[in-house]
């Protein structure tokens, strides 16, 4: 049925399009190879196996936007099956007499699946186009102040979407109609092709010659188009269908709370695209520009110039635009072409963008790499420089004498052990915020009182504890982080203890995930975990339980970074409160806006509303008047937010220790004398 000429034309088209596509694929490969070295090839089989299963189950996509994810699943499964369909269609052209119609149940099933998937793809694609071009969700929009590649600003993403959408509709639609024409030629419908059969009557009065011609047209639209589309692939976001699974397979399998080490200390981080670690050069090709990341970004939501999505998209457009020169090693600066300086300094490193990304991209890691390079060039906000100077000179971010670090203990009439002088079971690494911040020290003292009352053998480092450096590392000051960590590790080496406890999730993260690489390996426990442990084992007995509703805010560095969601909730529930969850909870929690050094920087000029204020409103929307936290920075951020958002009197911010303290019916007079001999086992 297919003439020799037709076959030659098709082969010629494949050769031409292959040749046209080659430079795009070749550049892509070369560019990725030029990225910074990190090892992502360990357990390679397991990596690809896991990624394949995840992709087949569409797991990463269903993290959010369930309806769109279903549409995506229609297209994904349809397209995957179409790989087989395309093979069959090729056979139809090149093998005389090849057909799948009326050839028994196996081919019948194949036809049935092809038929149903065709409709699902068409439904999925039309709905997605409708969504993008008619519904126009706000999530696709960027804040006005976000730096966009000129092409993106002119609507290039929409064009790409439309182009890809039409291609899919034509490719699948044409094949579907072609099947109906085939049946019309044979003069009857087929039960294995239920939906295409519905179209058969449309062609009933056509002559056999016209039907044959019409079939050839549909075949060429379906198959010719896919070949012609190949050169467009490496330029289009649609290449995500190849790169996303690879990106997922080659993703980070080390703790998300441990940043990649600096590769070259004489030029740390990345100022140019090619200086990024290579997996981060894979990211823009995996990106389908769905903007889910900026939808969950606290910086973008609060009106600043940061959109993690725009960063990946800009990278991709720069890589398309300068593919050959990048492949030849001619680098492009990221700053002011992929992202603005203000946006770099707007990131709270909350990891929400990374955690939500369906294709395993890590825009936040790009920002941290850029910060490393910018800090190395002394390019940072003045107030951040001041804080870093304090951290270097005093070892804390408050610019206070480090000798005042344990001053918070003074009002207590209990004698806290000095863990650097005597052995303790639990070494409490108090951290900057809990030690120095006026609005936190009451909470800090309550922790000490509860631990004492529970008979925990604990102590603090009275002299010589320095900031753990979690956020120092996240603003990109790698050298200072290492210096602080080395001093702490040296100090801890002289202490005898079983476990380290922290109340600050940032401190917790650094000690747990980042100190091991510098030689400090400890068992680190968050106070929420320790409290729950003591409640479960009966060490802490509650005299009276509280009642009522409350909501709990998951701190980024406790939840998303370290997966601790249930311990604080367990503590709250055991104290007698019922938790009413906010819409954004657990791994979808909204950052308070303090992380990644933001707490040391001024508010950004174009911020419309602080993330902490949005969060308080979110809590009020679920009808609670108690807002519970398990992080000293949250205490400060949300206590302030309640005031600045004008909701004083409507909601109170409490630390989980406040509940335990109340439920233990503790008063200062009731405190046990010092030197309680209780060892937690």
């Amino acid at each position: 049925m297919f003439s020799e000429q037709e076959r030659m034309v098709f082969i010629g088209l494949v050769v031409i399009c292959g040749a046209l596509a080659w430079p795009g694929f070749y550049n892509m490969f070369k560019i990725i190879r030029k990225g910074g070295e990190v090892n992502r090839f360990d357990n390679i089989i397991k990596r690809f196996l896991t990624a394949t299963i995840d992709v087949l189950l569409q797991k990463p996509i269903f993290k959010t936007r369930p309806f769109v994810s279903i549409l995506h699943a229609f297209i994904f499964f349809g397209f995957s099956f179409y790989l087989l369909v395309n093979v069959s269609d090729l056979l139809e052209a090149f093998v005389e007499g090849w057909t799948t119609i009326d050839r028994g149940p196996i081919f019948g099933t194949f036809n049935l699946l092809a038929d149903l998937f065709s409709v699902l793809v068409l439904v999925g694609m039309i709905s997605m186009l409708y969504r993008r071009f008619v519904v126009k969700p706000k999530a696709f929009e960027f804040n006005d102040n976000v730096l966009l590649h000129p092409k993106v600003a002119k609507g290039s993403i929409k064009k790409d979407s439309l182009f890809v959408g039409i291609f899919i509709l034509l490719h699948v639609g044409s094949r579907w109609v072609g099947t109906a024409i085939r049946m019309a030629e044979e003069g009857h419908t087929n039960a294995w092709l239920p939906t295409a059969s519905l179209l058969v009557p449309l062609f009933s009065d056509m002559s056999p010659e016209s039907l044959e011609q019409a079939f050839h047209i549909t075949w060429w639209i379906a198959m010719g188009l896919i070949v012609m589309f190949i050169p467009y692939f490496p330029r289009s976001k649609h290449i995500h269908l190849m790169i996303a699974p690879i990106n997922l397979a080659l993703g980070r399998n080390t703790p998300v709370g441990a940043l990649d080490p600096v590769i070259d200390y004489s030029s740390p981080g990345a100022s140019g695209i090619l200086e990024l670690p290579w997996p981060q050069l894979l990211d823009p090709y995996a990106c389908i520009m769905c903007t889910r990341c900026h939808e969950v970004c606290p910086a973008h939501e609060s009106g600043t110039s940061l959109s993690p999505s725009a960063l990946e998209i800009n990278k991709r457009y720069l890589m398309n635009e300068s593919g050959s020169s990048l492949a030849a090693g001619e680098d492009i600066q990221l700053l002011d072409s992929a992202i603005s300086s203000d946006a770099v300094w707007s990131c709270t490193t909350c990891n929400a963008c990374v955690s939500i990304c369906p294709v395993g991209n890590e825009p936040m890691q790009d920002i941290i790499q850029m910060r490393r390079s910018m800090v190395f060039d002394s390019n940072m906000p003045d107030e951040l420089a001041d804080t870093l100077r304090s951290l270097d000179e005093q070892g804390n971010s408050f610019g206070e004498s480090n000798r005042k670090r344990s001053r918070w203990t003074k009002p207590l009439n209990i004698d806290i052990k000095d863990a650097s002088k005597e052995a303790v079971d639990i070494l409490w690494f108090v951290g900057d915020f809990a030690s120095f911040n006026q609005s936190c020290t009451d909470t800090t003292r309550k922790v000490a009182e509860v631990l004492t009352a529970a008979g925990v053998d604990f102590g603090i480092i009275k002299k010589g504890e320095k900031s753990a450096g979690n956020d120092v590392r996240r603003v990109g000051e790698e050298g200072l982080f290492e210096s602080l960590a080395e001093q702490n590790i040296e100090k801890l080496a002289g202490c005898e203890f079983n476990r380290i406890m922290t109340t600050d999730p940032h401190t917790f993260n650094a000690l747990k995930n980042e100190y091991p690489a510098l030689g400090g390996e400890y068992e680190v426990v968050h106070y929420s975990t320790l409290l729950l442990e003591m409640m479960e084992s009966g060490i802490i007995n509650l005299d009276e339980t509280l009642s009522g509703n409350a909501t709990y805010h998951d701190p980024c560095y406790l939840g998303r970074y370290n997966g601790i969601y249930e311990a604080p909730r367990g503590v709250i529930e055991r104290c007698g409160l019922s938790i009413v969850e906010m819409p954004r909870n657990r791994d979808n929690s909204l950052c308070c806006g303090a992380g990644g050094g933001q707490i040391w920087m001024n508010d950004h000029d174009d911020m419309t509303q602080r993330p902490s204020e949005m969060r308080i409103e979110e809590a009020l929307s679920v009808g609670v008047s108690r807002f519970l936290v398990a992080c000293p920075k949250d205490m400060t951020m949300y206590s302030d937010a309640v005031k600045t958002s004008g909701h004083e009197g409507e909601i109170i911010v409490e630390d989980i220790i406040d509940l335990v303290y109340s439920a233990m019916n503790m008063q200062v007079e009731k405190m046990l004398p010092s030197n309680v001999d209780g060892v937690l086992t």
């Binding site: 200390y265 002394s378 000179e393 790698e478 200072l480 290492e482 210096s483």
Partner: protein, 245 residues
């Protein structure tokens, strides 16, 4: 152009100061020191006005924190650092004498120092140094431009009055504020400089026959507290009680 920036290590005032046992100095045992803030501005201004080919030399009297201070200056962009041994920073006149010997014969076009420091609130270092070297001096400089061997500087006076001077180079300038906030030197860069750069060393004699001599030092006397009075009659009664009539 060759610019010298004089750096000084001063007590960090976030720590509490205590008078030492001799009663004529500060107890430095537990004290933390840091670079004099105004010297940091002098360094920043030097780095700002230096063009390609210009040389910025950081100079400090040898002491506990000198190495870190000089390496930090180089990490920020200074061309080199000189550590002065044998000098004394016991008082400003001695310090100035030390710096003067170090600078002598160095062909510096500009000598920048911070306008003052916590232990030299009068800002004597610049003027004494200039006098020692026979150079012109302007202090409290808040802007600086150099062109053709002449520096045009703005000096701030109290009450918001500003004067503009033209000074023939070489000259000594006491910098009040640099045009940009002093830059931050990243720790890893300082570490690298430390490994890759050698500081020059120069022996100086730093004694001066003049200068301030401290005879006694003490903490300010604290007042006896205040009493809030409800009404003016009470005040009159108290004044009468004190013998005021």
């Amino acid at each position: 152009m060759k610019i010298a920036v004089l750096l000084k290590w001063v007590p960090d005032l976030v720590e509490e100061l205590e008078v030492d046992d001799d009663g004529i100095g500060i107890d430095t045992d537990d004290l933390k020191f840091k670079l004099n803030e105004f010297d940091d501005h002098a360094l920043e201004e030097a780095l700002q006005i230096a063009n390609d080919g210009d040389e910025v030399v950081a100079i400090a009297i040898d002491g506990d924190g000198t190495e870190k201070m000089l390496y930090t200056a180089i990490a920020k962009g200074a061309s080199s650092g000189i550590r002065l041994t044998g000098g004394s920073n016991s008082n400003t006149a001695n310090l100035a004498a030390g710096f003067a010997t170090a600078l002598d014969g160095g062909n510096y076009d500009l000598i920048l120092t911070g306008v003052q420091s916590v232990d030299d609130l009068d800002g004597q270092l610049g003027p004494i140094l200039a006098a020692n070297m026979g150079l012109p001096c302007v202090s409290v400089v808040s802007s600086l431009n150099v062109s053709g061997g002449v520096a045009t500087v703005t000096k701030e006076y109290s009450g918001g009055i500003v004067a503009e001077f033209e000074v023939d180079l070489p000259a000594v300038l006491g910098i009040q504020a640099a045009r940009e906030t002093p830059r931050y030197a990243p720790v890893s860069k300082i570490r690298q400089v430390q490994q890759s750069t050698d500081l020059a060393e120069k022996s100086v004699s730093g004694s001066s026959t003049s200068g301030t001599i401290i005879t006694a030092m003490s903490e300010p006397e604290t007042g006896g507290g205040a009493k809030m009075l409800d009404d003016v009659e009470d005040l009159i009664e108290i004044l009468k009680g004190l013998g005021v009539s």
